[in-house]
């Protein structure tokens, strides 16, 4: 039995779960729904594991499975096919694995929901997993696009899950529309691919015999730059890069497990997947890579700065996600594709964990999200505290936690490419360490600053919620060891080696400034030490803050208000759009176009009224007009020929 024949089941099972939960949401009990939802993902996970083991077999080559022709006429073909290779396998594991954990967690977290809401929630969540799987399994960009938009849709549905509150709906809509900007770029890139190469399937595009490597021999051709930039537009929107990041913090309006799954672990990393998937294309367009690196770095630092002053536990994590995604793009931009994927993985672990733990906190605090209203939770929420702490260490880049290794790989690649990237990257990493420990400190240490009622209510979450935390915490600790730097041995970077077939063509093309092992060790230790110092500083600084937060003046105020980016967007895009729309509706359409149309009608009416006056009822004037007409016609006939 070849697992490849069953691969279709991996996405179809969640889809089945979605349909059953969705259609039967009023009939099924919460328990059934929860079990069904988790079970389908679990089976998918098992299949993914099987697939993964298939891919690590020696002699494995990329597998393309054709199901049917989605669109076919003349020489235009969009097959519905799946492609399985190492990259897919890694992503499959992340999606189904973390997805499963979060499903399990959700059964506890969403317990308060009504039967209907619970079913709907799991249905959407399953649909999301389906879309995400479709995205990574796709064998061509069109099918990937289906998953791509599918996850946007699920994100939309889940952010606006509590649809009675228009704030949630607005956030959902914002997320969807911003993603659509990226989708537009994605689509254009697909068209460009079809126009230039006649296909959008990976296999014909990226093989070495007759793919684009042979079609585009020089770097930086218009085609390569255009397509890669457009794809990056898609990736930037999905992965919340400057300037399209603002939807992600707002997306925290959804239930916390959703934030963990969609807005931390999986969907937002689809952009990285896209770029990694198209790495050959990007390698052919170094110009685009530079832009990616710059934008990634800028995002990383910018978001980290904003995160410094956020008071909402989820907002901090959200900006942190944006920042981490920036790192991933930095990695991609400097050509360290596998490092980026590695960071995707570790980030999935620790950020998923952070969100789930935050969820646990919020759960315990009965929905309170302001960290200044918390404090001292470590006593009541033991497991949550420990797991949260581990995750903080991981994200702050404290060795030997997973984040350290993945971030380090990116940073060293950045150093190789351009030391300035490295310096800025490290600065960002230190900011990360600072705000994470500020968060940790404010939340868990010190005195409780909330109401009595909340204090009374404080409790550790049920096991269905804590177990996923524990599992993720373990992964966050050990996850880094599959990608140890070369310093620790010839084949220490297991993940890198595993993924190398995917990036082999790029490796050939990229001009790599390798750095010596010594330099690398020095760099590693510098970052590690700095991170630890910052962590300790931040943790202590915020042990006992005032309840109402810090001063909101000056720079701090600006940062707290996220540099007013949303307001600027509103002023620059949304409001003018609305004004133009009203102008079209009330002026152009009514006054101009309809004015002309009605004007013609009025003109006819007016001329009718005027012409009627010729009919004066007097024979004399009739005769006179007749004679005048005669004279005119005579003159025309005789003198104007």
């Amino acid at each position: 039995m070849n697992v490849m024949n069953w691969i279709l089941l991996i996405p179809l099972l969640p889809l089945a779960g979605c349909l059953i939960n969705g259609l039967g949401r009023n009939q099924l009990s919460k328990r059934t729904v929860g079990v069904l939802g988790s079970l389908t993902i679990f089976i998918s996970f098992c299949l993914s594991v099987a697939v993964f083991f298939e891919t690590i077999k020696p002699g494995f080559s990329t597998k393309v499975i054709n199901y049917f022709n989605f669109i076919k006429f003349e020489n235009f073909l969009v097959p519905f096919n799946f492609q399985v290779d190492q990259l897919t396998a890694v992503y499959l594991l992340i999606i189904t694995g973390i997805g499963f954990l979060i499903h399990v967690y959700s059964t506890g977290y969403m317990k308060e929901e009504t039967n209907e809401g619970f079913g709907r929630y799991f249905s959407f969540l399953n649909l999301f997993v389906f879309s995400m799987l479709l995205l990574v399994l796709a064998g061509n960009y069109v099918i990937m696009y289906m998953g791509w938009e599918g996850v946007s849709l699920c994100s939309y549905l889940l952010i606006g899950f509590w649809f009675k509150d228009h704030a949630n709906n607005d956030a959902a809509k914002k997320a969807f529309v911003m993603n659509r900007i990226g989708d537009a770029g994605f689509l254009l890139a697909i068209f460009w691919l079809y126009a230039s190469f006649g296909t959008a399937s990976y296999q014909p595009l990226y093989n070495s015999e007759n793919g684009i490597l042979t079609a585009l021999t020089t770097l930086n051709t218009t085609d390569a730059i255009g397509i890669s930039l457009l794809f990056f537009l898609g990736a930037a929107a999905k992965s919340a890069q400057i300037p399209l990041y603002t939807w992600l913090p707002d997306a925290m309006a959804g239930p916390t497990p959703v934030s963990a799954l969609i807005h931390a672990a999986t969907m937002v990393t689809a952009g990285i997947y896209l770029v990694a998937r198209s790495n050959i294309l990007y390698t052919l367009a170094p110009f685009t890579l530079h832009i990616i690196a710059i934008i990634g770095l800028a995002t990383a630092i910018f978001a980290a700065i904003i995160a410094l002053k956020q008071n909402d536990i989820k907002k901090v994590l959200a900006y942190s996600t944006v920042s981490q995604l920036g790192y991933m793009f930095l990695g991609l931009g400097v050509g360290a594709y596998s490092a980026a994927v590695f960071h995707v993985m570790t980030h999935a672990f620790f950020k998923g964990l952070l969100f789930l733990a935050a969820g646990s906190v919020i759960h315990a605090m009965s929905g309170e999200q302001n960290i200044y209203k918390m404090g001292g939770l470590s006593k009541k929420l033991g497991i949550t505290y420990i797991t949260f702490f581990i995750a903080c260490l991981a994200i702050a880049g404290v060795p030997p936690f997973s984040g350290f290794f993945s971030k380090d790989e990116i940073l060293s690649a950045a150093f190789a490419s351009n030391p300035v990237y490295y310096v800025l990257g490290v600065a960002g990493a230190l900011l990360t360490a600072f705000y994470m420990f500020r968060l940790l400190s404010l939340t868990f240490s010190g005195k409780f600053r909330g109401t009595h009622e909340q204090e009374h209510h404080l409790h550790e979450s049920p096991p269905v919620m804590t177990w996923p935390l524990i599992i993720l915490a373990i992964l966050a600790v050990v996850g880094g060891f599959i990608g140890l730097p070369e310093v620790f041995g010839e084949h220490a970077n297991v993940l890198g080696n595993f993924l190398s077939p995917i990036f082999s063509h790029s490796e050939h093309l990229l001009v790599k400034n390798t750095i010596s092992h010594n330099t690398e060790i020095i760099l590693m230790s510098v970052t590690a030490v700095l991170s630890i110092i910052v962590c300790l500083w931040a943790f202590n600084k915020y042990k006992n803050p005032s309840t109402d937060g810090e001063s909101r003046k000056g720079l701090a105020g600006i940062i707290e208000n996220k540099f007013y980016i949303d307001e600027i967007y509103d002023a620059v895009f949304v409001n003018p759009y609305r004004r133009v729309a009203y102008f079209f509706q009330n002026i152009v359409d009514v006054k101009v176009i309809d004015g002309v149309v009605n004007g013609v009608g009025r003109f006819v009416n007016y001329s009718s009224r005027q012409m009627r006056l010729l009919q004066s009822g007097l024979v004399g004037s009739y005769l006179l007009l007749m004679v005048i007409g005669m004279v005119i016609l005579f003159i025309i006939q005789f003198f104007f020929k």
Binding site: Q615, L618, V627
Partner: protein, 109 residues
């Protein structure tokens, strides 16, 4: 005489008739002006009849005869028209005690 004088004479009469029809309001006079127009046509036809006689052969005889008979028919029609026209004018006079063409002005616009 040259034909042009007859042509111009009858055109002059014709146009005088038209001017009369345009300027007068008494319907009987307007009608008389129209009769004047018809008469100018008659005159012209006779003149043309004589003009076509220039060939002085059987064909030109026929040609000339046709015009003279045409004039005869015009007179017939004119007579019929006059009887009807005057009847209408009298009818109107009976109803309104006026022969002004602008007196009845209900049909307009």
């Amino acid at each position: 005489m040259e034909i042009k004088w007859y042509l111009f004479l009858s055109l002059a009469l014709f146009c005088i008739g038209i001017i009369g029809a345009l300027t007068r309001r008494n319907s009987i006079i307007v009608f008389m002006c129209i009769e004047l127009m018809l008469n100018s046509v008659n005159l012209l036809l006779i003149a043309f009849s004589k003009m076509h006689l220039a060939g002085n052969n059987a064909l030109s005889y026929t040609m000339a005869t046709e015009a003279q008979l045409f004039v005869f028919f015009i007179m017939i029609v004119a007579a019929a028209e006059v009887s009807v026209g005057l009847a209408i004018i009298v009818l109107m006079y009976r109803n309104t005690k006026s022969v002004d063409i602008n007196f009845l002005n209900r049909l307009k616009n």
